[in-house]
Symmetry: C2
Subunit: 243 residues, 2 copies
DNA sequence: AAGCTGAACATACGTTGTACAGATAGGTGT
DNA sequence: ACACCTATCTGTACAACGTATGTTCAGCTT
């Protein structure tokens, strides 16, 4: 296969024309973990989550599939690294304003990072491992909450709620019953329901349809923040939830 | 294979001893969509989501894998049906109390149904299709919100927020950085961070660890409901979110 | 120049979802 | 009673996936 290069005396690149045609002088930059992770992230951003296969990624990097395994334990670790790269975009350095202002800015930045890579964000919340940037976000959030006066127990609850809401938000693309579309009728999953059986949905259907309404995330965030303000103002109502 | 039973004249069960050993009189009930979906759901509940393969399900039903495809288009449709079966457990019939009480009961029932099948719930929010029971839940929720005085646009936003929060809640099992565990060190994903670099997390770590704290869902729900009450009381502050 | 090391490769295995073609059984019309 | 049709089930097979394994090879150290 590589007969020529294995017999240097006969076609020595340095004596011939200075170029060995069997050698690839224009080879891409060396395979490194960061480069793999970056390419994987942009691949997912462009072609969707299902397009991320080790083979496709290797092709993109002009490398054999197994070469990736020298830098990444398995696909699972790769995704973990991708997630952490995404979370690196979150701005955790805001220190102006009171705790509520900072918290709002932090969660929004968090949301925007996820939204910018919403394909990857779909698997994010399912992940268990958390990387350094995830830790940093968590640290800042919890610190703000403690500073605001929440107890450690409450701060952890609040963090979870914010985390769940923000991460969960990305999971839903179009999760709206598209009753009008032909897809359901032709697949015949379910008997179509007449509008009079679902009057409320019908009444708001124009607002439900389509992709996420801009500002919808903020709407829910403000609900939560308003709730937080009340909790801080009246801590005795903390356990007021009936049943 | 079944040579004997194909020659009824020679070993007729009714004339012999009343039993033909080659024949299976205890054969399971016929393969139907509901039975497939039910067994699939309990399989996922018991053995986890990854255990749901068409082969494993077929084995469970004592049937060849391809037999399933007579009743179910593909695995995707199967999961859709499983989700709808899960959502059938949600109690949508509560009509006592004011809108807030009913809404709380509804969302809680919703949450409990998901929690009862948390393995399946992990893929739930990623799903786009929505079945009749999902529609029913949606209808009740939106109706309550309209009745409470929310505009159609706001009602749809609120529905989404509640939906996202509840569905998203199930996605997170243990999504806590288990810094102490040996797993991270031995896999070496990330350089371990010393506690002094993450003081806030360290301060609340005892509350973060472990599975979901009971009542944590209700905590976030009450935050949202409190926010809703404010919105209803002061509708002019609806668009008060800065930026 | 010899030898070592780590990176890249080729090959292959097991598991998955599912297409396809034939076997089979239960009900129906005669 | 018998033939036939149709819905159902089976066996076989294939493509795509993640990845275990063994080998090749370039480049550095000595």
């Amino acid at each position: 296969m590589n007969d020529q290069s294995s017999v240097p005396g006969r076609s020595d690149p340095t004596t011939w024309v200075g170029v060995d045609p069997s050698k690839d002088y224009t080879r891409p930059p060396p395979l490194t973990r960061p480069r793999i992770v970056r390419t994987a992230l942009s691949l997912v951003d462009e072609k969707g989550l299902a397009a991320l296969t080790m083979r496709a990624l290797a092709t993109e990097l002009e490398v054999s599939p197994m070469a990736l395994y020298n830098h990444v334990r398995d696909k699972d670790e790769l995704v973990d690294l991708m997630v952490d790269l995404m979370l690196a975009e979150v701005d955790t350095s805001v220190t102006e304003g009171d705790w509520l202002t900072q918290l709002r800015a932090l969660v929004r930045s968090y949301h925007q990072a996820l939204a910018a890579h919403h394909e990857l964000a779909r698997v994010y919340s399912v992940r268990v491992r958390i990387g350094p940037h995830g830790l940093l976000i968590m640290e800042r959030t919890v610190a703000l909450l403690l500073e605001a006066g929440f107890s450690p127990a409450e701060a952890s609850d609040v963090f979870f709620v914010l985390f769940i809401y923000t991460a969960g938000f990305q999971q839903i693309g179009d999760v709206v019953p598209r009753r009008d579309s032909a897809t359901r009728e032709e697949t015949g999953y379910y008997p179509p329901l007449p509008p009079q059986q679902i009057p409320a949905i019908t009444a708001v259907s124009s607002h439900l349809n389509g992709p996420h309404r801009p500002g919808r995330f903020d709407y829910g965030l403000e609900l939560l923040l308003a709730g937080l303000q009340i909790k801080i103002a009246q801590p005795e109502k903390a356990a007021a939830a009936p049943q």
